[in-house]
């Protein structure tokens, strides 16, 4: 397959669904895919995809999870799945490196090298023209700049760390910084904003806009329609490996020609008929997950039952505005998308039938990380947090604020902490190694990085089934059947389930990870950004499944770690983390509509602004 | 006289003066010392004999030859010996005197020390012995000893100056070479001593280097790094003999090879079993297999070719039928014995396995047991019933006195017979040599018939030299005067 772009060969692209070159006349594409077909095991995972990547423009590939976005993006890098049969043409402008922000950043970061080393290696190539003596300083300067551009504050500290010492979102941004450093004419960014909070996401969007303004072509593979709307010049919609629609972003968004596009944009497009959205899969999620409408209880989460505002002010709550740059704009939460609409219409009290004991209590939690030269650093302080049976709690906060750390403490994966975590009033052992099987089954955790959490040598279904075998004593056959059913329920057909993890798409793996935890029939399920890699449609599907579960099983309670306020809004309660401090907690609608803490306010605001930015 | 023999024996033209000869020996490692009385290994002895002299030394037939002693004269009863020293000087110029001799012997016999020659000097009553002049000594013996000169030639009985201390720093002897430098376990360099009583050596310098591995010695010799390599394997000899690269010297009859049966315990306390074993051994096969053919077959008697050797006895051959019959008579059919062996000497393990197979044919099961080579000799002295044995050259008299008398210290066959002891005493009190030889013959006949030593062969001692090395004696067994003797050697 030729990989060099030859002038003059551009022209007819594919079957009339290619990139619209006329938008930007006079400039040839820097990269081009023509009629790409990738067949693995007799199945075409990408079929007849054509794509022109123009300088200075952002081309977005959108589509459901598993629709072939990553496969197409990787094709621009000249990479294909092992044993794939590839036909078609991929051309990239001669000599041009292609920047790549992979979907699983953790895997792309060398575990044995510090962040600074990983970045300097790339920067070094960019300072070759300088005299030898200046190179080091120049490279360093570039690295710091790239880190800043990628929205990683405190670059000095972070660059001394190893990748595993970063939060998921920070890893993502390091990979982004790598791409920014490269100075490539083309950047393929695969879900660059997963795991980022709204504030950061907004800035990353700006960054990409600036990058495009410099004449660099950006290929954005994303399910995040906010980001796509805000950035994309062109949109290509994929479905099951085929391009179903493509065109200027504005047009595709406002008047989608294909039914599937319309469905994808379901949340984005102001639907003329509000009822239509109700028929969509996600729409059945009514109000907070698992809410029993008949339960009038005001807020069982508040143990003290004190009246007045339900904002739980914490002793250590920070009062200063975390981000002074943030323009104080329109307060309040956006009311858009089917989920939120239903939120509005739900029972204002959001009460449940159960009062009883909290299933999980966190008391005086202080978690530390060993951090480079400076010994240990406290990364999380959560004085009190309660979770009642049948209720859900969303933990929100900026990337790196300690959400995952909190979840890992609960799950027994992070031992270095003070304070207690009580299950039904009995303290859980600090390490999951000391937990009994019942305790393990009771508290399950879905990892933020699904890719890293699977054994790459065994088929997914086996790994999923083992949970039932080990934690519930099910026999292997039954467990496998159960696993297959659960996976199917999450949209993973049997054929996919029998594959090895490396052969699944990012979103598919996330769902498999969820299935694995679900098979334990947990009482507390901690989901760490499980919807981050999913398109709106699939996300709605997943949240729906969770909703059904919480409703169907009285004793399941859910901790949803998310940066997505829309998702958070589905929970009964929301806890807000800022720089390791639990700054606010309370019923979802209260927190979202009348945030008490300035930080929460700014979070809510940015989300709105990002949506607003779409119009520009 | 040994010294003059070797010159005509070599027949390599006229000696040339000068040059440095490097000789490699297997050594004792970092613990080596130049104290001649501590000499234990061949390397020690070679160095000691370059620096020091004994009063007498063994000729090729293991008879005592005068060295520092010019002559010796016993009294009638053979228990007082008058020894006259020749005129010789130590390297520092002082003469070798009777006092030096007595000092040396007293040092060796010091009860607080454990020098090797102590046992050999045991017959001398050192308190009673005295210097009768500057160069004459009267040795008073504890009992008549016809073979007293053998004592003077004993292994390690070197003469050191009376005031000698610190042997490793600046040893002073009366030998043909004087000390230059010494690094234990690595090398020792000596220079010619021009005033040597027997005439100055031909070589300017001699360097003894240590190379424990046989192949290292061969390689160094082939590569021209050394001129003299001591103790080579028979296979190496075969590979290089007559190839023109190096000279191979075989010192015949240097090491007696035997199996040693303890005559005081079953099954060997029955002389028929011992005789059966004598008949089991196929000596040719043992020599070919274990010694790679480098040696000659033995006849169950020590000292083939030495003075007093009973060579009139018929050569024993393998006779399995007779052996089986003897075993049957002794009620030892299906006999099982354990044969102790160890890697302590070349050919031991080989001999053991060959003998095992030979014994099998006679219905005897021999189980070979490997022992530690560091403590082998003391292990087998009292333990087990059958073991591999070897002995370097020594006079037959010494062999008997050390190993075959009731009070012998290393009586490995546990051969204890009053009448045999008496015969030995008789020999020692017999002044006439032929009469003495007859007594020795009687003793050997007895050993041949029912002794504990199954002596199957005598191994050659193999030395390799560079082609330009001349004057190396080819007949002297190891441990005798002309073996490892460098004052008569020259580089052509």
């Amino acid at each position: 397959m030729k990989h060099e772009y030859e002038k003059g060969t551009s022209g007819d692209v594919g079957v009339g669904i290619g990139v619209h070159a006329d938008v930007d006349t006079g400039v040839g594409p820097v990269a081009e895919i023509r009629d790409l077909r990738v067949v693995v095991d007799g199945r075409a995972i990408v079929d007849g995809v054509s794509l022109r990547v123009l300088p200075g423009r952002v081309t977005a590939l959108i589509g459901a999870s598993g629709s072939g976005k990553t496969t197409t993006g990787l094709a621009l890098l000249g990479e294909y799945p092992a044993d794939a049969l590839v036909t078609g043409d991929v051309r990239v402008e001669a000599g041009g490196l292609v920047g790549y922000v992979p979907q699983h950043p953790a895997a792309a970061l060398n575990p044995a090298r510090r962040v600074s080393a990983l970045l300097t290696d790339i920067a070094r190539a960019r300072v070759r023209h300088l005299p030898v003596r200046q190179r080091r300083a120049a490279a360093r300067e570039r690295v710091l700049r790239a880190l800043a551009e990628a929205q990683l504050p405190d670059a000095e500290t972070l660059s001394r760390r190893y990748p595993h010492q970063l939060s998921g979102g920070q890893q993502q941004r390091v990979v982004l910084a790598q791409a920014l450093l490269l100075g490539a004419r083309v950047i393929v960014a695969d879900e660059p904003t997963t795991g980022q909070d709204a504030l950061t996401k907004g800035r990353i969007v700006e960054r990409f806009r600036a990058v495009a303004a410099r004449g660099i072509a950006v290929v954005l593979l994303s399910h995040d329609l906010d980001v796509v709307s805000a950035l994309a010049d062109e949109v290509v919609v994929l479905r099951a490996g085929r391009v179903v629609e493509s065109g200027p972003a504005q047009r595709v968004r406002s008047s989608p020609r294909h039914e599937w596009t319309r469905e994808l944009f379901g949340g984005q497009v102001e639907s003329p008929d509000p009822d239509e959205s109700a028929s969509r899969p996600g729409a059945s999620a009514r109000g907070p997950l698992g809410t029993r409408t008949e339960s009038p209880d005001p807020d069982p989460d508040e143990p003290t039952g004190q009246p007045g505002p339900r904002i739980h002010r914490l002793p250590h709550a920070r009062t200063e505005v975390p981000d002074p740059d943030e323009p104080t704009g329109r307060p309040g939460v956006r009311a858009r998308g089917p989920l939120n609409r239903h939120t509005e219409s739900r029972d204002p009290d959001g009460r449940t039938a159960r009062t009883g004991q909290p299933v999980l209590r966190v008391r005086g939690l202080t978690a530390r990380h060993r951090d480079g030269a400076r010994g240990t650093a406290v990364v999380l302080r959560a004085p009190a947090l309660d979770l009642y049976p049948g209720r859900s709690l969303a933990v929100v906060g900026r990337s790196g604020s300690g959400k995952t750390t909190l979840a890992r403490c609960v799950a027994g994966l992070h031992r270095d902490h003070d304070g207690e975590i009580l299950l039904d009033g009995t303290p859980l052992p600090r390490s999951l190694r000391d937990r009994s099987r019942t305790q393990l089954a009771a508290v399950q955790y879905v990892f933020q990085d699904a890719h890293a959490a699977f054994d790459e040598h065994r088929p997914v279904v086996h790994q999923v089934a083992r949970t039932a075998v080990r934690l519930r004593g099910t026999d292997p056959d039954t467990a496998t059947r159960e696993a297959l059913t659960t996976l199917a329920g999450l949209g993973l057909p049997e054929e996919l389930a029998h594959r090895h993890p490396g052969r699944l798409s990012g979103g598919e793996l996330q769902r498999a990870a969820l299935a694995r935890a679900l098979l334990a029939r947990p009482r507390v399920l901690v989901c760490d950004e499980i919807t981050s890699g999913l398109d709106t449609v699939t996300r709605r599907g997943i949240l729906d499944v969770l909703t059904t579960l919480v409703r169907g099983r009285d004793d399941l309670s859910l901790v949803l770690i998310t940066h997505d306020l829309d998702t958070a809004a589905l929970a009964h309660r929301i806890a807000v983390l800022d720089a390791g401090e639990l700054v606010e907690q309370g019923p979802a609608e209260v927190v979202l509509t009348t945030p008490a803490h300035p930080f929460t306010a700014s979070l809510v605001r940015t989300t709105t602004r990002l949506t607003a930015g779409t119009v520009t | 006289g040994g010294g003059s023999d070797s010159d005509d024996g070599a027949g390599d033209g006229s000696p040339k003066k000068g040059g440095r000869l490097r000789a490699a020996f297997a050594g004792g490692g970092a613990s080596e010392t130049l104290d001649p009385h501590l000499a234990n290994l061949f390397a020690d002895v070679a160095r000691a004999k370059a620096l020091f002299d004994k009063l007498a030394d063994y000729g090729a037939d293991l008879s005592a030859q005068p060295r520092l002693a010019e002559k010796w004269e016993p009294n009638k009863a053979l228990d007082r010996w008058q020894v006259t020293l020749r005129e010789a000087t130590f390297h520092d110029g002082s003469p070798v005197t009777a006092r030096d001799v007595l000092h040396s012997y007293r040092r060796i016999a010091d009860p607080k020390q454990a020098f090797r020659a102590k046992a050999s000097l045991e017959p001398i009553d050192l308190d009673a012995s005295r210097a009768t002049g500057e160069r004459s000594i009267e040795f008073v013996l504890k009992r008549p000893t016809a073979e007293f000169p053998n004592v003077l030639a004993a292994f390690g009985a070197y003469i050191v100056p009376e005031n000698a201390t610190g042997f490793d720093k600046e040893p002073v002897g009366s030998g043909p070479f004087r000390f230059v430098s010494f690094a234990p376990g690595r090398s020792a360099v000596f220079r010619r001593y021009d005033d040597y009583w027997e005439g100055a050596p031909h070589l300017d310098e001699i360097e003894f280097v240590v190379a424990n591995e046989e192949s290292a010695r061969v390689n160094a010799l082939l590569g021209g790094q050394i001129e003299y390599a001591h103790e080579l394997n028979p296979t190496t000899a075969r590979a290089h003999e007559d190839k023109g690269q190096i000279e191979i010297v075989r010192l015949r009859g240097s090491a007696m090879q035997a199996f040693c049966m303890k005559t005081d315990r079953p099954p060997f306390d029955d002389e028929r079993v011992r005789q059966a074993f004598f008949l089991i051994a196929d000596r040719r096969e043992l020599v070919d297999g274990a010694l790679s053919g480098a040696g000659e077959v033995g006849n169950d008697l020590f000292g083939k070719g030495y003075e007093y050797y009973a060579d009139g006895l018929p050569q024993r051959e393998q006779d399995l039928d007779k052996a089986r019959a003897l075993l049957k008579q002794a009620g030892a059919e299906g006999l099982k014995v354990t044969l102790d062996t160890s890697a302590v000497a070349a050919g031991f393990t080989e001999a053991a396995s060959i003998f095992r197979d030979q014994a099998k044919k006679a219905g005897v099961t021999v189980e070979v047991r490997m022992g530690s080579k560091d403590s082998y000799w003391s292990d087998i002295l009292d333990n087990g019933a059958l073991c591999c044995y070897r002995s370097g050259a020594m006079p037959i008299e010494a062999h008997i006195s050390q190993r075959l008398l009731t009070d012998s210290t290393t009586n490995a066959t546990k051969w204890r017979h009053k009448d045999f002891d008496a015969l030995y005493q008789q020999a020692q009190s017999t002044r006439d040599k032929t009469e003495r030889a007859a007594v020795y013959e009687r003793m050997q006949r007895r050993l041949y018939g029912e002794g504990g030593f199954l002596i199957w062969g005598f191994a050659d001692w193999i030395i390799g030299t560079a082609r330009n090395v001349k004057g190396v004696d080819t007949k002297a067994p190891a441990n005798t005067l002309d073996w490892a003797r460098f004052d008569t050697v020259w580089l052509a």
Binding site: P111 | G29, A30, R186, A216, G223
Partner: protein, 317 residues
């Protein structure tokens, strides 16, 4: 890193205990061996009276623990004791033997590291292709050739047939540096086996590392091939190889008996062999101290490297 510092401190402390254990073990082993210095000195003249006399002269008739205690007391004053056999200080034995050993080891390691890693990486880079097949099979085959055979072969060819190099270092004493040619063959033989095992381990680790996503990422970003291999992939393949390297250095420093014997190099191996054969307990113990300390330090080094290369390992729940 404070965690690291306490790790090292603890390990060094344990190292002290380990060294004591090594010395005790070696003492026990040497004592358990049949025979003692007296027996070995007596050689083939094991006259019981003489052995007893020697034993007395060497104070071997005192109980073992008493001798050990005396020796240990001396050690506290930095005195390693004196040899039973020669009466010379043990320190001198060690000093004499250490020079050649260290020289050989240093040279070998200096060649081993580039050769081992270079070939290993080369093989991994061409995994499955002829270069790799060649390297893999040759290393295995060479590994299967016994040391002595290789030694003899090299001497025969390069020293005796071609005459390029001296066959042994006989007579050069400890001053081997003055005769560099004499070191070539021993170093080659010493190199032969470690290089093979190192190459194989590096290759194995590298194949997995080179197939990893982070290496793919570095490649995409135009990091030069060599840099990718040596600074990105290699660190992740290094931990087992570092262990192997430590073991090799340990072996090189603690006695390479065959090579020392074959090439007449008076190193520690020769000293050890002699001392064990002579049951020269103080010398053996002195060596045990040296070996114990060396092993502790080398193992610690290897563990530190492993720790550095797998930084996540310390953080497991």
């Amino acid at each position: 890193m404070s965690g690291l510092r306490s790790f090292v401190a603890r390990r060094l402390l344990l190292g002290g205990v380990q060294t004591v254990a090594v010395v005790l073990l070696v003492f026990a082993l040497t004592e358990a061996l049949p025979g003692d210095a007296a027996v070995s000195l007596a050689g083939d003249q094991p006259d019981p009276a003489r052995i007893a006399a020697i034993r007395e002269a060497m104070e071997l008739d005192r109980p073992a623990w008493e001798r050990l205690a005396d020796w240990a007391a001396g050690l506290l004053h930095g005195d390693l004791g004196t040899s039973l056999v020669s009466g010379r200080p043990v320190r001198q034995y060690l000093a004499d033997g250490f020079g050649p050993t260290l020289l050989l080891a240093a040279l070998t390691v200096a060649l081993l590291v580039p050769a081992g890693f270079g070939l290993g990486v080369l093989a991994a880079r061409h995994a499955g292709r002829p270069v790799d097949r060649l390297i893999s099979s040759v290393t295995l085959a060479v590994y299967a050739v016994p040391e002595f055979a290789l030694g003899v072969l090299l001497v025969t060819v390069f020293a005796l047939r071609l005459g390029w190099l001296p066959p042994t270092a006989v007579g050069y004493g400890t001053d081997l540096l003055a005769h560099p040619a004499a070191l070539v063959l021993p170093v080659l033989v010493l190199l032969s086996r470690p290089v093979c095992s190192l190459v194989r381990l590096v290759r194995a680790g590298m194949i997995d590392a080179l197939a990893s996503p982070y290496v793919a990422q570095a490649r995409r970003y135009g990091v030069s091939g060599a840099r990718v291999r040596y600074t990105h992939a290699l660190p992740n393949a290094l931990a087992p190889a570092a262990q192997q390297l430590a073991r090799t250095i340990d072996w090189l420093l603690c006695g390479v008996i065959v090579v020392e014997a074959l090439y007449v190099i008076p190193g520690l191996g020769t000293v050890l062999l002699g001392a064990v054969a002579e049951r020269d307990v103080p010398v053996v113990q002195g060596l045990a101290v040296v070996f114990g300390v060396l092993t502790v330090v080398l193992n610690l080094g290897a563990d530190l490297i492993a720790h550095r290369l797998a930084p996540r390992a310390g953080a497991a729940a």
